[in-house]
Symmetry: D2
């Protein structure tokens, strides 16, 4: 693999940083270094490329939605999950209530907050937060993942909108019990500390249909990996998912902590950390960086 291409991609990303901003709706997130950027690559032949801040810990935020979705698919089954939450891109912002109130049956998909809270409520009777944290460590191949209590507390102090969504879900019978517990579980999952490298690992596991790239052990049902990748592709970048699919064509999930997890199917896991965000809440360095890689290495899914 030609490392220069990755270095060039990293530079492309770096150039975009000044145009974005660190998330400030939660004080703890506002402390991140705007200029940080890390790119971690893990390939199917076992190579690893790390450029920049790949060992900095930051919170997963919405990237945890795919961990929870995978866990729920494993422990509750496909039909039980998708009876409660759809698979359709919504065309609306991640925290919209409108589409849920008008579309009474179920949240559009598990990547918007209403869907992720529903997934949390499904997990509640099956897995504790400790179980889910262990599962996260397992599929990220990273024993060092810890819980960031300061971020969790900061989020819980600003959680009214998600709480409103959760009670709206209860009023519609979508969350049947444990509203506060679901909200807390969802927020705790958002507060797990990962690195760009952890995300590259998770990406590689998804690329290999759920297999541990070193041991070959099956960590996740291949069908679950397929569903997660597909939903990342159609819904992973909030209301910018469609354009991202056209321009980049690599299934990717973002989080407002600055993380991006990308999967080049069968070939590569990519983890990025860059807390300067675009207006949709996605790491602003990510698109030019990944678009460059996609073109140079021909990684577009189609």
């Amino acid at each position: 693999m030609n490392i220069e291409i990755f270095e060039k991609a990293f530079e492309k990303g770096k150039e975009a940083i000044p145009l974005g901003n660190v998330a400030t709706y939660i004080p703890e997130l506002g402390k991140a270094g705007k200029n940080s950027l890390g790119l971690s690559i893990y390939t199917d032949d076992g190579q690893r490329i790390n450029i920049g801040d790949t060992q900095t810990r930051f919170t997963m935020q919405s990237i945890s939605k795919i961990v929870s979705l995978a866990a729920a698919l494993e422990v509750c089954g496909f039909d039980n999950v998708f009876e409660k939450v759809g698979m359709e891109p919504s065309g609306e912002a991640f925290n919209s209530l409108v589409e849920l109130d008008l579309n009474s049956n179920r949240p559009f998909n598990p990547m918007i907050n209403s869907g992720a809270l529903t997934v949390a409520s499904l997990l509640l009777p099956k897995m504790s937060f400790l179980d889910l944290a262990d599962y996260t460590r397992l599929i990220c191949l990273d024993e060092e993942i810890t819980f960031n209590e300061a971020v969790y507390k900061s989020e819980m102090a600003n959680v009214s909108r998600n709480r409103a969504i959760a009670y709206l879900l209860e009023s519609k019978g979508i969350i049947e019990n444990g509203v506060e517990e679901s909200l807390s579980l969802y927020t705790k999952m958002c507060s797990l500390n990962v690195t760009a490298e952890s995300l590259a690992n998770f990406g590689m596991v998804l690329a290999l249909e759920g297999k541990n790239p070193v041991s070959g052990e099956q960590l996740m049902n291949p069908k679950v990996a397929q569903i997660v990748k597909t939903i990342m592709l159609t819904c992973g970048m909030y209301d910018g998912s469609g354009e991202f699919a056209v321009r980049v064509g690599i299934p990717t999930k973002s989080g407002v902590g600055g993380g991006l997890l990308s999967v080049v199917d069968k070939k590569m896991g990519i983890g990025i950390y860059g807390p300067s965000l675009d207006e949709k809440g996605n790491c602003i360095a990510g698109r030019p960086l990944l678009e460059y890689l996609s073109k140079e290495l021909n990684l577009h899914i189609l």
Copy 2:
């Protein structure tokens, strides 16, 4: 006054009862006798006409929204109230979240749940529930008004949608603190037990610009009475308010407990109890009954 006209009106209302249904979303409300009907009239010359179930106690429900609005206007002032809640009919159902989420500034008016919850939050630092219950007794000229704890508990067990609205209001900075307390205060006010006669009394006080019809004592600022009557006219019958204004033309507020409070300005207070509801949640006997009175006695506001 010709009592036969009122008896005829009562019959007109009675005929409509089979077409409606008692509210059942809360088990306690479902216990009401569907065929009950009471009509209480109180006129400016001191006459009182009572036909049917005018002494039966039932919960105010949304009629309490005008009590709370009056109290808030008295203790917080016009500008402070209407900075937080608008005066516009919304064209949507009483429990919609959509219009609030799209219209970010403030609830459309104090007669929909989002507006009433906002009013409750404004009252919170100024008046306790006990103060408000006393105020209700005062303006209804009814010392017997009690708190229906069974209904309150039944409502609080089904309160998810209002709780969602309350947290959405918090997330927008409209409710600044005391979300749960506001929700509880609002629901307690809904659970005050009145009679058709209490409502006729309150109507007469409003008709007399806030004066006690017996003692002449000013119970409410005349300006406050005017605002309350105007908002009853434009927003008092949920998303059927416009048609009601055209057909009946008497400012009226309904509650899902089956109550209706109407004000014939300067002349008459009218209280109705009839728990069989139309599909918008208004006492189904009310419209034909009041439409008949409006025509026969020329009570239309215009």
Copy 3:
């Protein structure tokens, strides 16, 4: 009558003019003199007070919606009109399509464009534009009302949004035929040239339940006058109608040409011309002027 109160009210209105703007979405309307202001009063004892630009001709615009509604109620009947268009305030801007698309049955009310286009389509087989222009002259007691072809042409060159609404109405079966003719009829009615005095006359006719104030001749069914006044009260000032009802309490209809027509029931017709508009499209001088009159002369409906 104390003319000084009207002069004072006029001054109150004058002060607000600089805060508004002349409508510019149509070039012809943009030619109006921003500082113009006219106030014409006509009372039930036959007195007339004219202050300022009360003889200037300007186009009726949305004020024609109440002329057409009155005509349709006369020639088609209450039930046929309200089967096609509702009576509910919509909470949305006058030119919204959203509420019509979501609420599939019929437009919310005849004061929004979708409702007014529906009314035009109902009139089409019954009255020609010439008939309607004559009817306007009749109820405005003004033989001089002419058709402003320059404004009509200017409007028809910018009519796409209304045309979209009209075809949406056709697609829902609300307009059954003559979409282009309905659009043209509606726009022609908007282009009738009136004066503040014409509007005061029309207001007086409505105040007198449809009677010619001089001859006593019944120009309009009293029931029609009542419906028109009620809908002016609940829907006459676009999405500012509710607040206007609370603060002023005088049924009023506005037009973007700068006109305002107000009815003090049984007592007074008021016509105002002031093309400087507030952001909702209502004459900006109107509210302080009418609010002052309402308070000083106790004209609030409640």
Copy 4:
């Protein structure tokens, strides 16, 4: 290639037919034989499999949206097209106006009617309908494609909703001129008569990055083919696109004439004809048929 798998898939599709219905909103479409089913496969090694009604002519309907998108990308360029229309799935039905009215800038994507009408308006100054029909014949490798005038006329007699959308686009400056011409061009393109085999051919061209599978001639820019396939994947099946991507994972575009065009990248073009539709307007035989093929032949994109 194992023909039995395709026969089995065909049977799977056949079983679903009774659950659907032929489109009837346009009389001409209602004449289709509900039980018809055709499956045409064209593979990269030049093999062709035809089962059932693969030579029956039917109108392309919405499948023409991808022809027009491809043409517009070729003649107007990526940036000019996507300045006027987005790339995001909308979460709404294909004929919604709501999302366009609230989201003022541009239609969500070129697969919903508002987006397709915008694309037609962009093509207008560059290509005539005759040019576009020739282009369709070229990329479908089918000289026999004809214009179905009966369907065109039937559609134009029921075109109000699309006309409303087109004028709304004009009112927002998205269609700058030629509203009626754009509407006509769009509807003509919907009325081109293809066969399941034509669609398989077009699918093969897309699979081969725009190359004629026989001659190797480049019929379409490879980048254009990539964009079209990606948008088929995210938006090709109306508001069922997300679920289709998860369950089937083959970029597919449907039309209410009963056609389905699928692309297995680099490997296969698939054309299906089955006019019995599910409630979203997609050929009801398509999903079980393609889901079976996807699983048996491992054709899921991820």
